[in-house]
Amino acid sequence: MFEKTGVPSEKLVKSRFPNERYLNSFKAITECYEEIPCNPCETSCPFDAIEVGIDINTPPRVDFDLCTGCGICVYSCPGLAIINVMLEDDDAIFRIPYEFLPIPEVGMKVKGVNRFGEDICDGEILKVKEGKLQDKTIVLTLKIPKEYLYDFVTIRRLT
Protein backbone atom coordinates (compact mmCIF):
# COMPACT_ATOMS: atom_id res chain seq x y z
CA MET A 1 0.00 0.00 0.00
CA PHE A 2 2.67 2.51 1.11
CA GLU A 3 4.68 1.69 -2.03
CA LYS A 4 1.70 2.50 -4.24
CA THR A 5 0.09 5.48 -2.49
CA GLY A 6 2.67 7.17 -0.28
CA VAL A 7 0.41 6.65 2.76
CA PRO A 8 2.15 4.73 5.56
CA SER A 9 0.10 2.15 7.45
CA GLU A 10 -1.19 2.94 10.93
CA LYS A 11 1.25 0.38 12.31
CA LEU A 12 4.18 2.10 10.61
CA VAL A 13 3.08 5.53 11.86
CA LYS A 14 2.68 4.30 15.44
CA SER A 15 6.10 2.65 15.32
CA ARG A 16 7.67 6.12 15.40
CA PHE A 17 5.64 7.43 18.37
CA PRO A 18 6.83 6.97 21.94
CA ASN A 19 4.63 5.67 24.71
CA GLU A 20 2.11 8.43 25.47
CA ARG A 21 3.61 8.98 28.93
CA TYR A 22 6.58 10.63 27.16
CA LEU A 23 4.29 13.18 25.55
CA ASN A 24 4.02 15.61 28.45
CA SER A 25 6.62 17.58 26.53
CA PHE A 26 7.37 17.82 22.80
CA LYS A 27 8.99 14.77 21.19
CA ALA A 28 10.28 14.24 17.64
CA ILE A 29 8.31 11.89 15.42
CA THR A 30 10.33 10.80 12.39
CA GLU A 31 8.15 9.69 9.52
CA CYS A 32 11.09 8.32 7.57
CA TYR A 33 10.63 4.61 6.95
CA GLU A 34 12.81 3.95 3.95
CA GLU A 35 16.54 3.51 3.47
CA ILE A 36 17.57 6.74 1.75
CA PRO A 37 21.00 8.40 1.93
CA CYS A 38 20.28 11.26 4.29
CA ASN A 39 21.26 12.32 7.82
CA PRO A 40 20.62 16.04 8.60
CA CYS A 41 18.24 15.02 11.42
CA GLU A 42 21.14 13.35 13.21
CA THR A 43 23.69 16.09 12.57
CA SER A 44 21.30 18.94 13.44
CA CYS A 45 20.11 17.49 16.77
CA PRO A 46 21.98 19.33 19.56
CA PHE A 47 21.12 16.59 22.08
CA ASP A 48 22.28 13.52 20.11
CA ALA A 49 18.76 12.19 20.41
CA ILE A 50 18.47 11.15 16.76
CA GLU A 51 20.71 8.40 15.47
CA VAL A 52 21.28 7.46 11.85
CA GLY A 53 24.81 6.12 12.10
CA ILE A 54 27.74 5.63 9.75
CA ASP A 55 25.56 4.17 7.02
CA ILE A 56 23.52 7.26 6.21
CA ASN A 57 20.87 5.07 4.54
CA THR A 58 19.68 3.81 7.91
CA PRO A 59 16.32 5.33 8.93
CA PRO A 60 16.58 7.56 12.03
CA ARG A 61 15.90 6.30 15.54
CA VAL A 62 14.91 8.72 18.30
CA ASP A 63 15.97 8.30 21.91
CA PHE A 64 12.95 9.85 23.64
CA ASP A 65 14.86 10.20 26.92
CA LEU A 66 17.39 12.48 25.22
CA CYS A 67 14.88 14.32 22.98
CA THR A 68 14.04 17.70 24.53
CA GLY A 69 11.51 18.60 21.85
CA CYS A 70 13.57 21.62 20.80
CA GLY A 71 12.11 21.51 17.29
CA ILE A 72 15.31 21.97 15.28
CA CYS A 73 14.74 18.68 13.43
CA VAL A 74 11.34 19.89 12.17
CA TYR A 75 12.88 22.41 9.78
CA SER A 76 16.15 20.50 9.26
CA CYS A 77 14.62 17.42 7.61
CA PRO A 78 14.86 17.81 3.81
CA GLY A 79 11.96 15.39 3.42
CA LEU A 80 9.69 17.44 5.74
CA ALA A 81 9.18 14.13 7.48
CA ILE A 82 9.64 15.17 11.11
CA ILE A 83 6.95 16.61 13.35
CA ASN A 84 6.93 17.28 17.09
CA VAL A 85 4.00 16.50 19.32
CA MET A 86 2.94 16.72 22.97
CA LEU A 87 -0.31 16.18 24.82
CA GLU A 88 -1.94 18.77 27.06
CA ASP A 89 -5.35 18.08 28.62
CA ASP A 90 -7.65 17.24 25.72
CA ASP A 91 -5.36 18.65 23.07
CA ALA A 92 -2.54 17.33 20.98
CA ILE A 93 -0.09 20.12 20.23
CA PHE A 94 1.88 19.69 17.05
CA ARG A 95 4.83 21.44 15.46
CA ILE A 96 4.82 20.94 11.71
CA PRO A 97 6.98 22.17 8.81
CA TYR A 98 5.08 24.40 6.37
CA GLU A 99 6.24 25.81 3.04
CA PHE A 100 3.21 27.58 1.59
CA LEU A 101 1.95 31.10 1.22
CA PRO A 102 0.06 32.76 2.76
CA ILE A 103 1.67 32.10 6.11
CA PRO A 104 -0.94 31.37 8.81
CA GLU A 105 -1.20 33.78 11.74
CA VAL A 106 -1.43 33.06 15.44
CA GLY A 107 -5.01 32.47 16.53
CA MET A 108 -6.18 31.39 13.10
CA LYS A 109 -8.60 28.48 12.86
CA VAL A 110 -7.34 25.83 10.44
CA LYS A 111 -8.38 22.42 9.17
CA GLY A 112 -6.32 19.42 10.28
CA VAL A 113 -5.45 16.99 7.49
CA ASN A 114 -4.53 13.29 7.63
CA ARG A 115 -1.97 11.32 5.61
CA PHE A 116 -4.54 10.71 2.84
CA GLY A 117 -4.94 14.46 2.39
CA GLU A 118 -8.45 14.52 3.94
CA ASP A 119 -9.80 17.13 6.37
CA ILE A 120 -10.28 15.43 9.73
CA CYS A 121 -10.54 18.09 12.45
CA ASP A 122 -10.36 21.73 13.44
CA GLY A 123 -7.20 23.26 14.80
CA GLU A 124 -5.83 26.57 16.03
CA ILE A 125 -2.47 28.12 15.27
CA LEU A 126 -0.54 28.85 18.47
CA LYS A 127 2.82 29.95 17.16
CA VAL A 128 4.54 30.73 13.84
CA LYS A 129 8.30 30.44 13.69
CA GLU A 130 9.95 31.93 10.67
CA GLY A 131 13.53 33.10 10.61
CA LYS A 132 16.98 32.68 9.21
CA LEU A 133 17.43 29.30 10.88
CA GLN A 134 14.17 27.97 9.48
CA ASP A 135 15.34 29.02 6.01
CA LYS A 136 11.83 29.30 4.54
CA THR A 137 10.59 26.08 6.13
CA ILE A 138 8.21 27.71 8.58
CA VAL A 139 7.42 25.86 11.79
CA LEU A 140 3.78 26.08 12.85
CA THR A 141 2.67 25.15 16.36
CA LEU A 142 -1.02 24.30 16.56
CA LYS A 143 -3.48 22.41 18.68
CA ILE A 144 -6.03 19.83 17.62
CA PRO A 145 -8.23 17.42 19.61
CA LYS A 146 -6.14 14.67 21.21
CA GLU A 147 -8.11 11.87 19.52
CA TYR A 148 -6.43 12.69 16.20
CA LEU A 149 -2.91 12.17 17.58
CA TYR A 150 -2.02 9.39 15.14
CA ASP A 151 -4.04 10.69 12.18
CA PHE A 152 -3.15 14.36 11.94
CA VAL A 153 -0.14 15.27 9.80
CA THR A 154 -0.58 18.77 8.36
CA ILE A 155 -3.08 21.57 7.83
CA ARG A 156 -5.25 22.48 4.88
CA ARG A 157 -3.50 25.20 2.96
CA LEU A 158 -4.99 28.66 3.38
CA THR A 159 -6.41 30.31 0.31
Binding site: T5, V7, E34, P37, I56, G79, N114, T154
Partner: protein
Protein backbone atom coordinates in the same frame (compact mmCIF):
# COMPACT_ATOMS: atom_id res chain seq x y z
CA UNK B 1 45.68 29.12 -30.46
CA UNK B 2 45.11 29.46 -26.77
CA UNK B 3 46.68 26.65 -24.73
CA UNK B 4 45.55 25.82 -21.21
CA UNK B 5 46.05 23.02 -18.71
CA UNK B 6 42.55 21.94 -17.91
CA UNK B 7 39.20 22.44 -19.62
CA UNK B 8 35.92 21.48 -17.97
CA UNK B 9 32.86 21.10 -20.17
CA UNK B 10 29.81 21.99 -18.10
CA UNK B 11 29.39 24.34 -15.14
CA UNK B 12 27.00 22.20 -13.10
CA UNK B 13 27.71 20.61 -9.71
CA UNK B 14 30.30 18.17 -11.11
CA UNK B 15 32.18 20.74 -13.21
CA UNK B 16 32.28 23.43 -10.53
CA UNK B 17 33.42 20.95 -7.87
CA UNK B 18 36.20 19.71 -10.17
CA UNK B 19 37.41 23.27 -10.84
CA UNK B 20 37.40 24.00 -7.11
CA UNK B 21 39.37 20.91 -6.08
CA UNK B 22 41.86 21.38 -8.94
CA UNK B 23 42.36 25.01 -7.88
CA UNK B 24 42.96 23.97 -4.28
CA UNK B 25 45.77 21.83 -5.64
CA UNK B 26 47.08 24.77 -7.69
CA UNK B 27 45.85 23.76 -11.14
CA UNK B 28 44.14 26.37 -13.27
CA UNK B 29 41.05 25.55 -15.32
CA UNK B 30 38.59 26.95 -17.83
CA UNK B 31 34.96 26.02 -17.21
CA UNK B 32 32.83 26.14 -20.34
CA UNK B 33 29.11 26.67 -19.87
CA UNK B 34 26.45 26.87 -22.56
CA UNK B 35 24.01 28.82 -20.37
CA UNK B 36 24.44 32.45 -19.34
CA UNK B 37 25.17 31.34 -15.76
CA UNK B 38 26.78 28.38 -14.07
CA UNK B 39 25.18 26.12 -11.46
CA UNK B 40 23.52 23.64 -13.80
CA UNK B 41 20.21 22.17 -12.70
CA UNK B 42 20.85 23.30 -9.12
CA UNK B 43 19.73 26.84 -9.95
CA UNK B 44 16.10 25.74 -10.28
CA UNK B 45 15.97 23.46 -7.24
CA UNK B 46 14.08 25.23 -4.47
CA UNK B 47 13.87 22.19 -2.18
CA UNK B 48 16.31 21.07 0.49
CA UNK B 49 18.75 18.40 -0.61
CA UNK B 50 19.34 14.99 0.91
CA UNK B 51 22.70 13.38 1.64
CA UNK B 52 25.08 14.37 4.41
CA UNK B 53 26.72 17.61 5.51
CA UNK B 54 29.66 17.16 3.13
CA UNK B 55 27.29 17.32 0.16
CA UNK B 56 25.40 20.28 1.69
CA UNK B 57 22.36 18.26 2.81
CA UNK B 58 19.35 20.27 4.06
CA UNK B 59 20.54 23.21 1.94
CA UNK B 60 18.29 24.24 -0.94
CA UNK B 61 19.62 23.44 -4.43
CA UNK B 62 19.80 27.10 -5.46
CA UNK B 63 21.88 27.84 -2.35
CA UNK B 64 24.19 24.88 -3.08
CA UNK B 65 24.77 26.38 -6.54
CA UNK B 66 25.80 29.64 -4.88
CA UNK B 67 28.12 27.83 -2.46
CA UNK B 68 29.86 26.01 -5.34
CA UNK B 69 30.10 29.23 -7.36
CA UNK B 70 31.54 30.93 -4.26
CA UNK B 71 34.23 28.25 -3.99
CA UNK B 72 35.23 28.93 -7.58
CA UNK B 73 35.18 32.72 -7.12
CA UNK B 74 37.53 32.33 -4.15
CA UNK B 75 40.02 30.92 -6.67
CA UNK B 76 39.32 33.36 -9.50
CA UNK B 77 43.05 33.65 -10.15
CA UNK B 78 42.97 30.02 -11.26
CA UNK B 79 39.42 29.39 -12.46
CA UNK B 80 38.04 31.07 -15.56
CA UNK B 81 34.33 30.63 -16.20
CA UNK B 82 33.27 31.04 -19.81
CA UNK B 83 29.48 31.35 -20.06
CA UNK B 84 27.32 31.54 -23.20
CA UNK B 85 29.79 29.16 -24.76
CA UNK B 86 28.95 25.95 -26.56
CA UNK B 87 31.49 23.25 -27.31
CA UNK B 88 31.02 22.55 -31.01
CA UNK B 89 33.90 20.13 -31.42
CA UNK B 90 36.15 17.94 -29.32
CA UNK B 91 39.12 16.40 -31.11
CA UNK B 92 41.61 13.66 -30.36
CA UNK B 93 44.51 16.15 -30.33
CA UNK B 94 42.90 17.75 -27.24
CA UNK B 95 41.58 20.74 -29.16
CA UNK B 96 38.08 22.04 -28.51
CA UNK B 97 36.20 24.32 -30.85
CA UNK B 98 33.91 26.77 -29.12
CA UNK B 99 31.16 29.17 -29.97
CA UNK B 100 30.84 32.21 -27.71
CA UNK B 101 28.11 34.68 -28.69
CA UNK B 102 28.50 33.69 -32.36
CA UNK B 103 32.28 33.96 -32.23
CA UNK B 104 34.09 30.78 -33.16
CA UNK B 105 37.36 30.02 -31.38
CA UNK B 106 39.63 27.20 -30.37
CA UNK B 107 41.37 26.11 -27.22
CA UNK B 108 43.85 23.33 -26.52
CA UNK B 109 44.01 21.54 -23.18
CA UNK B 110 46.27 19.01 -21.52
CA UNK B 111 43.32 17.39 -19.78
CA UNK B 112 39.58 17.62 -20.40
CA UNK B 113 36.73 16.82 -18.04
CA UNK B 114 33.36 16.25 -19.67
CA UNK B 115 30.68 17.13 -17.12
CA UNK B 116 27.81 17.75 -19.50
CA UNK B 117 25.07 16.23 -17.34
CA UNK B 118 21.97 14.52 -18.63
CA UNK B 119 18.92 15.22 -20.76
CA UNK B 120 15.32 14.28 -20.16
CA UNK B 121 13.68 11.27 -21.72
CA UNK B 122 10.46 11.87 -23.55
CA UNK B 123 7.41 9.67 -24.26
CA UNK B 124 5.72 8.51 -27.40
CA UNK B 125 1.97 9.08 -27.55
CA UNK B 126 -0.52 10.67 -29.91
CA UNK B 127 -0.28 14.50 -30.02
CA UNK B 128 2.78 14.59 -27.77
CA UNK B 129 3.82 17.86 -29.44
CA UNK B 130 0.82 19.92 -28.32
CA UNK B 131 1.70 23.15 -26.54
CA UNK B 132 1.16 22.55 -22.83
CA UNK B 133 3.20 19.35 -22.78
CA UNK B 134 6.48 19.94 -21.00
CA UNK B 135 9.46 18.12 -19.63
CA UNK B 136 9.82 18.52 -15.86
CA UNK B 137 13.03 20.52 -16.35
CA UNK B 138 11.21 23.07 -18.50
CA UNK B 139 8.48 23.41 -15.89
CA UNK B 140 11.10 24.10 -13.24
CA UNK B 141 12.90 26.62 -15.42
CA UNK B 142 9.69 28.50 -16.21
CA UNK B 143 8.41 28.41 -12.66
CA UNK B 144 11.51 28.65 -10.47
CA UNK B 145 13.90 30.65 -12.65
CA UNK B 146 11.52 32.96 -14.52
CA UNK B 147 8.44 32.96 -12.26
CA UNK B 148 6.07 31.87 -15.03
CA UNK B 149 3.34 29.30 -14.33
CA UNK B 150 3.26 26.45 -16.85
CA UNK B 151 -0.52 26.07 -16.58
CA UNK B 152 -3.40 25.97 -14.13
CA UNK B 153 -4.10 22.26 -13.93
CA UNK B 154 -1.26 19.82 -14.38
CA UNK B 155 -1.04 16.07 -14.77
CA UNK B 156 2.39 14.76 -13.82
CA UNK B 157 3.77 11.69 -15.56
CA UNK B 158 6.37 9.80 -13.55
CA UNK B 159 6.78 9.31 -9.80
CA UNK B 160 10.56 9.39 -9.57
CA UNK B 161 12.07 12.01 -7.28
CA UNK B 162 11.90 14.69 -9.98
CA UNK B 163 8.21 14.04 -10.70
CA UNK B 164 7.35 14.11 -6.99
CA UNK B 165 9.46 17.17 -6.20
CA UNK B 166 8.21 19.17 -9.19
CA UNK B 167 4.63 18.27 -8.22
CA UNK B 168 5.28 19.73 -4.77
CA UNK B 169 6.83 22.86 -6.28
CA UNK B 170 3.83 23.26 -8.60
CA UNK B 171 1.54 23.11 -5.55
CA UNK B 172 3.69 25.72 -3.82
CA UNK B 173 3.31 27.95 -6.86
CA UNK B 174 -0.46 27.63 -6.63
CA UNK B 175 -0.94 25.25 -9.56
CA UNK B 176 -3.43 22.42 -9.17
CA UNK B 177 -1.75 19.04 -9.60
CA UNK B 178 -4.58 16.73 -10.63
CA UNK B 179 -2.63 13.50 -10.25
CA UNK B 180 0.72 11.83 -10.66
CA UNK B 181 0.64 8.78 -12.91
CA UNK B 182 3.29 6.09 -12.88
CA UNK B 183 3.57 3.15 -15.28
CA UNK B 184 5.40 0.94 -12.79
CA UNK B 185 3.52 -0.85 -10.03
CA UNK B 186 5.28 1.14 -7.29
CA UNK B 187 6.26 4.74 -6.63
CA UNK B 188 9.74 5.36 -8.06
CA UNK B 189 11.09 8.12 -5.82
CA UNK B 190 11.62 8.54 -2.10
CA UNK B 191 8.49 7.81 -0.10
CA UNK B 192 8.95 10.99 1.96
CA UNK B 193 8.44 13.00 -1.24
CA UNK B 194 5.38 10.89 -2.15
CA UNK B 195 3.84 11.31 1.32
CA UNK B 196 4.45 15.06 1.09
CA UNK B 197 2.20 15.45 -1.97
CA UNK B 198 -0.33 12.78 -0.95
CA UNK B 199 -1.13 14.65 2.26
CA UNK B 200 -1.70 17.75 0.12
CA UNK B 201 -4.38 15.81 -1.70
CA UNK B 202 -2.53 14.61 -4.82
CA UNK B 203 -3.16 10.97 -5.72
CA UNK B 204 -0.41 8.86 -7.22
CA UNK B 205 -1.84 6.33 -9.67
CA UNK B 206 0.57 3.44 -10.24
CA UNK B 207 0.16 1.14 -13.27
CA UNK B 208 -1.05 4.08 -15.36
CA UNK B 209 0.32 5.81 -18.45
CA UNK B 210 -0.65 8.43 -21.04
CA UNK B 211 -2.41 7.11 -24.12
CA UNK B 212 -2.91 10.37 -25.99
CA UNK B 213 -3.16 14.10 -25.62
CA UNK B 214 -6.26 15.93 -26.78
CA UNK B 215 -6.59 19.57 -27.83
CA UNK B 216 -7.04 21.80 -30.87
CA UNK B 217 -4.24 24.32 -30.58
CA UNK B 218 -3.11 23.62 -27.03
CA UNK B 219 -3.53 20.81 -24.56
CA UNK B 220 -7.06 20.47 -23.18
CA UNK B 221 -7.29 16.88 -21.98
CA UNK B 222 -5.22 13.75 -21.67
CA UNK B 223 -6.37 10.19 -21.98
CA UNK B 224 -4.77 7.94 -19.41
CA UNK B 225 -4.93 4.18 -19.30
CA UNK B 226 -4.07 1.40 -16.88
CA UNK B 227 -1.12 -0.83 -17.72
CA UNK B 228 -0.31 -4.32 -16.50
CA UNK B 229 2.99 -5.25 -14.89
CA UNK B 230 4.54 -5.73 -18.36
CA UNK B 231 3.42 -2.17 -19.18
CA UNK B 232 0.80 -3.34 -21.71
CA UNK B 233 -2.20 -1.02 -21.93
CA UNK B 234 -5.39 -2.62 -20.59
CA UNK B 235 -8.21 -1.90 -23.00
CA UNK B 236 -11.36 -0.46 -21.53
CA UNK B 237 -9.59 1.30 -18.65
CA UNK B 238 -9.12 4.62 -20.45
CA UNK B 239 -10.05 7.81 -18.63
CA UNK B 240 -10.16 11.40 -19.87
CA UNK B 241 -8.59 13.99 -17.57
CA UNK B 242 -9.00 17.70 -18.19
CA UNK B 243 -5.80 19.68 -17.80
CA UNK B 244 -3.90 22.45 -19.58
CA UNK B 245 -0.42 21.14 -18.81
CA UNK B 246 1.15 17.72 -18.89
CA UNK B 247 4.54 17.40 -17.25
CA UNK B 248 6.72 14.49 -18.38
CA UNK B 249 9.20 13.22 -15.85
CA UNK B 250 10.16 9.74 -16.95
CA UNK B 251 13.88 9.75 -16.33
CA UNK B 252 17.13 11.11 -17.68
CA UNK B 253 19.77 9.94 -20.13
CA UNK B 254 23.48 10.80 -19.92
CA UNK B 255 24.28 13.67 -22.29
CA UNK B 256 27.31 11.87 -23.70
CA UNK B 257 27.02 12.72 -27.40
CA UNK B 258 30.04 15.06 -27.42
CA UNK B 259 32.21 12.07 -26.50
CA UNK B 260 31.21 10.54 -29.84
CA UNK B 261 33.82 12.81 -31.43
CA UNK B 262 36.61 11.07 -29.54
CA UNK B 263 37.91 7.52 -29.85
CA UNK B 264 36.73 6.67 -26.34
CA UNK B 265 35.03 3.38 -25.66
CA UNK B 266 31.31 3.74 -24.98
CA UNK B 267 28.86 1.18 -23.65
CA UNK B 268 25.09 1.08 -23.34
CA UNK B 269 24.25 0.47 -19.69
CA UNK B 270 20.53 0.75 -18.97
CA UNK B 271 21.09 0.96 -15.22
CA UNK B 272 23.22 4.10 -15.69
CA UNK B 273 20.60 5.67 -17.95
CA UNK B 274 21.96 4.96 -21.44
CA UNK B 275 25.13 5.29 -23.50
CA UNK B 276 28.07 6.01 -21.19
CA UNK B 277 31.86 6.09 -21.53
CA UNK B 278 33.85 3.22 -20.07
CA UNK B 279 35.79 4.67 -17.13
CA UNK B 280 38.21 3.60 -14.44
CA UNK B 281 37.94 4.38 -10.74
CA UNK B 282 39.33 7.89 -11.27
CA UNK B 283 36.73 8.67 -13.91
CA UNK B 284 39.24 8.56 -16.76
CA UNK B 285 37.85 7.30 -20.07
CA UNK B 286 39.76 4.88 -22.31
CA UNK B 287 41.53 7.92 -23.80
CA UNK B 288 44.39 9.33 -21.78
CA UNK B 289 43.56 12.62 -19.96
CA UNK B 290 39.91 12.60 -21.02
CA UNK B 291 37.75 12.39 -17.91
CA UNK B 292 34.04 12.45 -17.10
CA UNK B 293 32.04 13.23 -13.96
CA UNK B 294 28.41 13.60 -12.93
CA UNK B 295 25.33 12.43 -14.80
CA UNK B 296 27.18 12.07 -18.12
CA UNK B 297 28.64 8.81 -16.81
CA UNK B 298 25.53 7.56 -15.01
CA UNK B 299 22.39 9.36 -13.88
CA UNK B 300 22.33 9.99 -10.12
CA UNK B 301 21.71 12.83 -7.69
CA UNK B 302 23.54 16.18 -7.53
CA UNK B 303 25.21 15.00 -4.32
CA UNK B 304 27.07 12.26 -6.23
CA UNK B 305 27.92 14.67 -9.03
CA UNK B 306 29.60 16.98 -6.50
CA UNK B 307 31.67 14.12 -5.11
CA UNK B 308 32.56 12.69 -8.53
CA UNK B 309 33.63 16.12 -9.77
CA UNK B 310 35.79 16.63 -6.69
CA UNK B 311 37.47 13.23 -7.21
CA UNK B 312 38.17 13.99 -10.87
CA UNK B 313 39.49 17.49 -10.05
CA UNK B 314 41.92 16.15 -7.45
CA UNK B 315 43.11 13.34 -9.68
CA UNK B 316 43.59 15.48 -12.78
CA UNK B 317 45.53 18.10 -10.83
CA UNK B 318 47.80 15.36 -9.54
CA UNK B 319 48.23 13.95 -13.05
CA UNK B 320 49.34 17.36 -14.33
CA UNK B 321 51.84 17.80 -11.51
CA UNK B 322 49.78 19.67 -8.93
CA UNK B 323 49.34 17.48 -5.91
CA UNK B 324 46.74 18.63 -3.39
CA UNK B 325 48.38 19.11 0.05
CA UNK B 326 45.86 16.67 1.54
CA UNK B 327 45.55 14.45 -1.53
CA UNK B 328 45.35 11.03 0.14
CA UNK B 329 43.06 12.19 2.93
CA UNK B 330 40.71 14.00 0.54
CA UNK B 331 40.62 11.14 -1.94
CA UNK B 332 39.84 8.56 0.75
CA UNK B 333 37.14 10.75 2.22
CA UNK B 334 35.50 11.42 -1.17
CA UNK B 335 35.61 7.75 -2.14
CA UNK B 336 33.97 6.90 1.18
CA UNK B 337 31.27 9.54 0.62
CA UNK B 338 30.43 8.11 -2.78
CA UNK B 339 30.19 4.58 -1.37
CA UNK B 340 27.98 5.84 1.41
CA UNK B 341 25.61 7.64 -0.97
CA UNK B 342 25.26 4.49 -3.04
CA UNK B 343 25.06 1.89 -0.29
CA UNK B 344 21.27 1.93 0.18
CA UNK B 345 18.54 0.41 -1.99
CA UNK B 346 18.38 3.55 -4.17
CA UNK B 347 22.09 3.17 -4.99
CA UNK B 348 21.85 -0.46 -6.12
CA UNK B 349 21.12 0.49 -9.73
CA UNK B 350 24.24 2.66 -9.96
CA UNK B 351 26.48 0.12 -8.24
CA UNK B 352 25.26 -2.67 -10.54
CA UNK B 353 25.46 -0.39 -13.58
CA UNK B 354 29.08 0.54 -12.82
CA UNK B 355 29.94 -3.14 -12.42
CA UNK B 356 28.38 -3.85 -15.81
CA UNK B 357 30.22 -0.88 -17.32
CA UNK B 358 33.58 -2.11 -16.10
CA UNK B 359 32.86 -5.64 -17.28
CA UNK B 360 33.13 -6.96 -13.75
CA UNK B 361 30.15 -9.22 -14.34
CA UNK B 362 31.78 -10.87 -17.38
CA UNK B 363 33.64 -13.79 -15.93
Amino acid sequence: MRKVDFVIIGGGPAGLSAAHKAAEAGLSSVVIERDDKVGGQLVKQTHMFFGSKKQYAKTRGIDIANILIGHCKAHDDLIEIMTNTTVTGLYDDYILTLLTDDVYHKIEAKAILVASGASEKFMLFENNDLPGIYGAGAVQTLMNVYGVLPGEEVVMVGSGNIGLIVSYQLLQAGVRVKMVIEAASQIGGYKVHASKIKRLGVDILTNHTVKRAIGDDTLQKVEIVEVDDQWNMIEGTEKIIECDALCISVGLSPLSTILGMLPVKMKYVGKLGGNVPVIDYHHETTMNNIFVAGDVCGVEEASSAIVEGSIAGLFIANRLGYKHPEYEKEMNDLTQQLENLRSGPFGVKTVEGLRELRGENDV
